[in-house]
């Protein structure tokens, strides 16, 4: 199962990114876990210096910006 993680401390942009990721999963009809990671230590340990960050299966795919639904869908189908 695909694991999608949204790293951020819980501001509006993290919420937007989470919503976009959920929409992308819904559109693609794939089995995926969309998870929020709000723990600051965990975020630092991942090497994220700018939030929000998007990780797909453990790989950083975007940092400090919010990819739209189509971009996330493209990432998920690569």
């Amino acid at each position: 199962m695909t694991k999608i993680e949204i790293l951020g401390t819980g501001c509006a942009k993290c919420y937007r990114l989470f919503a976009n990721a959920e929409q992308a999963v819904k559109d693609l009809k794939i089995a995926a876990d969309v998870i929020k990671v709000e723990d600051i230590d965990e975020i630092v340990n991942r090497g994220v210096m700018m939030t929000p960050a998007l990780f797909i299966n453990g790989q950083a795919r975007a940092q400090g910006r919010i990819p739209d639904v189509n971009e996330i869908k493209k990432m998920l189908t690569e």
Binding site: G8, T9, C11, A12, K13, C14, R16, A19, N20, Q23, I40, I43, V44, V48, M49, M50, T51, P52, Q63, G64, R65, I66, D68, V69, N70, E71
Partner: protein
């Protein structure tokens, strides 16, 4: 002490300029409120479509250097899109609020949920990847704005 990630949140966002039609109807006013919220959330910066219509050089220069122009039209009249087009400005994202399920007039009222619907659609990029350049044929026998003659 370990360096903390900055919650500069969205520091890597592209430079966007948002033009709301800001029309008098409820959906027009909603474009304005949505553009303000999008500016507040760091999606881009609201700009004045009326000033764009005057051909103001500073605004045009600013617009031409933006990574993306976002146009919010309330109804199928597409006033903001037409104004931008007349100045040679193309939209990277174009949303028409009536196409999002919002009803134009006769009420002037709106809810926070209406604003959220527009803002979320913008963040999701729902106005991209479609031929937004073609004005849709309006219904009714009035001015063509789709309000049924109430505006």
């Amino acid at each position: 002490m370990a360096e903390q990630p900055t919650c500069s949140c969205g520091a890597n966002e592209p430079k966007r300029i948002i033009f709301p039609c800001a029309g008098q109807a409820n959906v027009g006013q909603l474009t304005n409120l949505a553009a303000l919220q999008l500016t507040d959330e760091g999606y881009g910066n609201i700009a004045c479509v009326a000033l764009l219509a005057t051909g103001a050089e500073s605004l045009l220069a600013n617009t031409m250097t933006a990574d993306e122009v976002v146009i919010l039209d309330g109804c199928p009249m597409l006033c903001a899109k037409k104004i931008a087009g007349a100045q040679g400005v193309a939209a990277g994202q174009h949303l028409v609020l009536t196409e999002l399920g919002l009803t134009k007039g006769p009420s002037k009222s709106y809810t926070d949920a209406d604003i959220e619907k527009v803002v979320a659609a913008c963040w999701k990029g729902e106005g991209r990847n479609k031929d937004a350049a073609t004005p849709k044929k309006a219904g009714g026998n009035n001015s063509g704005c789709g309000c049924g003659g109430t505006c």
